[in-house]
């Protein structure tokens, strides 16, 4: 089983780019299966089904969607196996830019929107810096100079990644991505590890506290001045 984990900000074009890349795999008689993770709602699943790819939707609801994705990886791999798929593609919801849901042997793909400004690559965290591939979308909406600066900024954050300029509408660049998917290594679940730890998320808010004042909060807490503390028993 080969596993591709696709992260990226909402609206960056993850689904559009994947549709083109997976269609290419299908044309080459390579079977893939997609799990789309989202928070409350998504109809992206239908788009994958339309091109004839087995699709499963997972809604994280109250759980952090990236934690949800990681926690369910075993089930997803089993499900892909049942569908005789050689490639499992996990499309994450991509929200806080802090989680990097890539495991060591998966192909980590970060989809990033070029119109979000040249500082974006510096703002996003491990989901870009630990990716194998950075797919830059919407490059046709800005000038060549801006595109080149954007690419340079990505390489500053992650000098080892491969940058693919893709267009989710025309499909340009997506064959290149399909090629990388085919070349990716096999995953062996028993020893699979995350590339980067998920952020700390143990506080009263995590278990449903709604009051805002500081005195109501317990757990691992970080103040705006950077001071981190543990409050509680």
């Amino acid at each position: 089983m080969k596993m591709v984990i696709v992260a990226g900000t909402p609206g960056s074009g993850k689904t559009a780019v994947l549709i083109h890349a997976l269609r290419n795999l299908k044309q080459r008689s390579l079977n893939s299966a997609v799990v789309k993770i989202d928070c409350l709602f998504t109809d992206d699943g239908k788009k994958f089904e339309k091109i004839g790819i087995p699709t499963k939707v997972g809604l994280a609801m109250d759980m952090c969607p990236d934690h949800f994705a990681i926690y369910n990886i075993e089930d997803m791999i089993d499900w892909a196996d049942e569908n005789n798929s050689e490639y499992l593609i996990v499309e994450t919801a991509g929200l806080c830019h802090r989680c990097a849901p890539y495991t060591v042997n998966s192909l980590g793909v970060c989809v990033i929107d070029a119109t979000s400004g040249p500082n974006t690559p510096l703002k996003v965290g491990p989901f870009l810096s630990t990716a194998d591939i950075a797919v830059v979308t919407k490059g046709d909406m800005i000038s060549q100079a801006e595109r080149e600066i954007f690419r340079e900024r990505i390489l500053e954050v992650n000098p080892h990644c491969k940058v693919i300029e893709a267009n989710g509408l025309s499909g340009q660049g997506c064959i290149e991505l399909a090629e990388e998917i085919v070349k990716s290594p096999e995953v062996s679940l028993d020893e699979e590890k995350l590339r980067h730890s998920a952020p700390l998320a143990v506080c009263t808010l995590c278990v449903g506290e709604t009051k805002v004042n500081k005195k109501y909060h317990r757990g691992i807490l970080r103040r705006i001045d950077g001071f981190q503390t543990y409050e509680g028993e």
Binding site: G117, Q144, E146, R151, E165
Partner: protein
């Protein structure tokens, strides 16, 4: 890298039919026009060439350089890039100063930092209000940013293939801009609606329904007409400058244009 020819191998138009023009070879030193109604696919053709497409876009066109497929590295690494494009999209999403933007771009292209002042100097010969190094990109006018991009393409992205998308919409001196961009021994492609520019080219491809419909060579008659149109254009420009500078225009004898 010296580029002798680029070859466009036709794909499909918007209706999914094969393009009438199957193949175009454009040679070094040639200025090639792209004409056609709005929405006919001019910008997509230019886009295909900028990406050196390998049947991976809507049109399924394939672009060869010196008769060969360019490598992925050649297609994407800005330091090796053989195409400089002046597009209609001058968004300057960047929240930075002119000087910072240019030195960042110079770094991407592996060009010297000294380019920055040269770019600003050249840009200021093309536009009315001067651009300063410490100006924020976002406050530049349409004409100023266009002029800046022309100068950027000419100096920083100095590449053997130059693509120009509708230079006339900008309020800059288009002939000077074209001269600056079409340096010696380059392959130049110009998308245009303007007969003055279209007739300055050696050949032009006519776009229709997203496909390359036919290639027209500029005739002798067109070339001599082009010279006349140029004079009219220069006349219009001189009038425009006078109006801009608050002068009152006296009645002009049309014979003075010297057609």
């Amino acid at each position: 890298m010296i580029i002798d020819t680029i070859t466009i191998i036709g794909g499909y138009n918007k209706k999914g039919e094969k393009e009438p023009v199957e193949k175009i070879d454009i040679n070094r030193g040639e200025i090639f026009g792209v004409v056609g109604a709005t929405g006919s696919g001019k910008s997509s053709l230019i886009g295909d060439i900028e990406q050196l497409s390998q049947t991976d876009t809507f049109s399924k066109r394939k672009i060869l350089v010196n008769g060969e497929e360019p490598s992925y590295e050649d297609r994407t690494n800005p330091r090796k890039k053989m195409v400089a494009q002046l597009s209609q999209n001058m968004n300057f999403l960047a929240d930075m100063s002119v000087g910072d933007f240019l030195s960042l771009h110079a770094k991407c292209r592996g060009a010297s930092d000294k380019c920055v002042n040269a770019v600003i100097k050249l840009a200021n010969t093309l536009t009315g209000e001067p651009i300063r190094k410490d100006h924020e990109l976002t406050i530049l006018s349409g004409g100023q940013s266009r002029a800046l991009m022309v100068a950027d393409v000419a100096i920083i992205s100095d590449s053997p293939i130059v693509l120009i998308d509708e230079i006339e919409n900008a309020g800059i001196r288009k002939h000077d801009a074209l001269k600056v961009l079409s340096g010696h021994g380059k392959v130049v492609m110009v998308v245009t609606h303007d007969p003055v520019l279209a007739l300055m080219t050696d050949r032009r491809v006519v776009m229709k329904n997203g496909g390359m419909d036919k290639v027209v060579a500029t005739s002798e008659a067109e070339k001599s007409l082009s010279k006349k149109l140029n004079k009219i254009d220069e006349f219009m420009l001189s009038l425009r400058d006078k109006v801009r500078h608050g002068e009152v225009i006296e009645d002009v004898e049309m014979g003075d244009i010297g057609l």
